[in-house]
């Protein structure tokens, strides 16, 4: 049967004529090492058609004109001038992954100053990099969890999640004994005395896969795996296409359908660029193992809040760590192991 009068739809695998394929099966990225670009270069130094170029220039002008008119205006005050200067620089900054240390410091300074100008309050944003010889892992004891949900509250407070839509990274699933891990029939929004008779509790969140499918599908490389194994998102580079949300087999990612609302007095001022800094409408977010805490040596908020000790967090590369003892001595398993996503989040029971 010829290609043209096919009566069914087929996926056309391995038949597309790809000129840029290099024949090694690795389709991500290009074969030659490219020099990283930053700032203007990342945006300006791309080949595009006349049409799309005009489109981009017009869009940029509309946004830029506002900023420039305030910045150069003689009537507007120093503060609003500074504000539009920051907006201008933030608009044209590059992808965090490609930033030099200096670029990182600059954008962190701009974000801190911008918050101060808006609210008069000071925040502390860190851009601390991964420690050497550290790979984070997490273990969850399903026979100890009682379903109290203290972890969920601690996570919301720590990570400045939107209060109005009740966004939460952690879900605690109440599962019936004898039915296995049946997520379809389990309830993650129960309200009765816990632990309920004949039930057990299982927490899920982002598992920080070592082979993360969400990273693979991001069309703009706004999400990636850091050296210490944490999968992070650059909220300023994310375009909100939600491909990653669809690609995640664990329901680990959340989308900001509206501008997140966090009461000013409840904002956690200790922040990280890749972690709990305030998000905006239309970007993805998820658990970062509390990167603002874990990079400092501290436990994530959920681990600290758990009254039952079901949650263990640690360095997989340290042979003396608790997490390593659990992996070596307990019978551990992970969810959907057959997918090959290699989550760094293990479950075990007593």
């Amino acid at each position: 049967m010829s290609e043209t009068n096919k009566k069914w739809y087929s996926l056309n695998l391995n038949q597309s004529k790809k000129s840029d394929s290099c024949g090694c099966g690795n389709n991500e990225g290009s074969c030659s090492e490219e020099k990283p670009k930053d700032g203007f270069d990342q945006i300006m130094d791309v080949s595009m058609s006349r049409r799309s170029a005009f489109k981009k220039i017009t869009a940029g002008l509309v946004i830029g004109a506002g900023a420039v008119s305030t910045a150069c205006s003689v009537v507007s005050g120093d503060e609003s001038k500074e504000k539009s200067g920051i907006e201008w620089d933030e608009y044209f900054k590059g992808n965090y992954k490609l930033m030099t240390d200096e670029d990182k410091n600059n954008t962190v300074d701009r974000l801190t100053r911008s918050y101060e100008l808006r609210t008069g309050k000071k925040i502390n944003i860190s851009s601390k990099d991964a420690e050497e010889d550290v790979l984070f892992g997490y273990a969850f004891n399903i026979s100890k969890c009682q379903g109290y949900m203290d972890c969920v509250n601690a996570c919301v407070e720590e990570n400045n999640q939107d209060r109005s839509t009740e966004m939460q990274y952690i879900r605690i699933h109440e599962m019936e004994d004898g039915k296995g891990f049946n997520f379809e029939e389990s309830d993650d929004n129960y309200y009765h005395e816990v632990p309920a008779e004949g039930h057990f509790y299982m927490g899920t969140q982002c598992f920080h896969c070592d082979n993360p499918p969400c990273v693979e599908v991001c069309p703009v490389q706004a999400t990636w795996k850091e050296k210490d194994g944490i999968v992070v998102i650059d909220y300023d580079w994310c375009i909100g296409c939600r491909y990653c949300m669809a690609a995640c087999p664990y329901d680990g990612r959340r989308f900001n359908w509206k501008t997140p609302e966090v009461p000013e007095q409840e904002v956690n001022k200790k922040q990280h660029y890749l972690g709990n800094r305030l998000r905006k409408k239309g970007v993805m977010e998820k658990c970062t193992f509390c990167i603002q805490r874990s990079r400092e040596g501290q436990n994530p908020a959920c681990v600290e809040a758990c009254p039952t000790g079901s949650r263990t967090f640690g360095n997989l590369l340290d042979p003396k760590s608790n997490i390593r003892w659990i992996l070596d001595n307990k019978k551990v398993f992970r969810l959907k192991e057959d997918l090959g996503t290699e989550p760094k989040f293990w479950y075990y029971m007593d």
Binding site: C22, C24, N26, C31, E131, E132, D133, L135, F136, G137, A139, K144, Q146, G147, Y148, M149, D150, V152, N153, T165, E166, Q168, I172, N189, Y191, E193, V194, D210, N211, R293, S294, E296, G297, Q298, N299, C306, P307, T308, G309, T312, G314, N315, L316, L317, D318, P319, K320, S321, N322, I323, R324, W325, I326, L327, N329, K330, E342, K344, Y348, D350
Partner: protein, 209 residues
């Protein structure tokens, strides 16, 4: 002729190596366990420590069976330690003196194993209230009360030493500071109590209806 062919093949192979794609880090190991095993370090150069988060907690050392970590100090946390400040006389004598009055520990009710297995004297030393004692009457310091619990709860003790039972305080970075048994479990009533979850998502509930 053959040497030329071999040479050609070798050159082609070398060329392929040079030209072919660079495999990124994620293809280096088949599984994350392979990665962990290959990259494990015996001495790491961490710049972070848990000490900063645990400054306010008074600790004592645990060092048994090759495990080495800290546990919170207990004696200073007990409201009326030393016990002998009140327990100047044997219990029987105190009981006689206090007939009709409310006894000091009136609110303690043992809900721990059965009365056939345990009573006050299973753990507390009648002739020296400042100390606990083992099943064979050996003295046990209040700071090291895990020695008492581990007499029966051996699997829990094993898991606790390793880090699978109990809770690490402060941070994941060394030095390790873990809660001891009585920091989470009330020794007189060790089971966790039923209670209501601290959160209920009302909007989620509405959306699902």
């Amino acid at each position: 002729m053959t040497t030329k062919l071999v040479l050609k093949v070798i050159t082609i192979v070398i060329c392929l190596f040079v030209v072919s794609c660079k495999h990124s880090d994620k293809h280096k190991y088949h599984t994350v366990i392979d990665k962990v095993e290959a990259e494990t370090v015996s001495s790491s150069n961490l710049t972070v420590t848990s000490e900063t988060f645990n400054e306010t907690i008074k600790t004592v050392k645990f060092g048994e069976d090759g495990y080495d970590f800290l546990i919170p100090e207990r004696k200073s946390q007990i409201a009326s330690y030393n016990c002998t400040e009140c327990h100047t006389q044997p219990i029987e004598k105190l009981k006689q003196d206090q007939v009709g009055e409310k006894a000091a520990h009136w609110n303690i009710k043992i809900v721990h194993a059965g009365i056939e297995t345990m009573n006050c004297a299973t753990c507390h030393k009648a002739n020296n209230m400042d100390e606990l004692h083992s099943l064979t009457n050996g003295p046990i310091d209040f700071n090291l009360s895990y020695k008492l619990c581990s007499q029966c709860h051996q699997q829990e003790f094993k898991d606790w030493k390793g880090g699978a039972h109990g809770k690490q305080l402060g941070g994941w970075a060394p030095p390790r500071l873990s809660n001891t048994c009585v920091n989470c479990h009330n020794p007189h009533k060790p089971a966790f109590e039923k209670r209501w979850p601290v959160r209920f998502n009302t909007t989620v509930e509405q959306e699902r209806e």
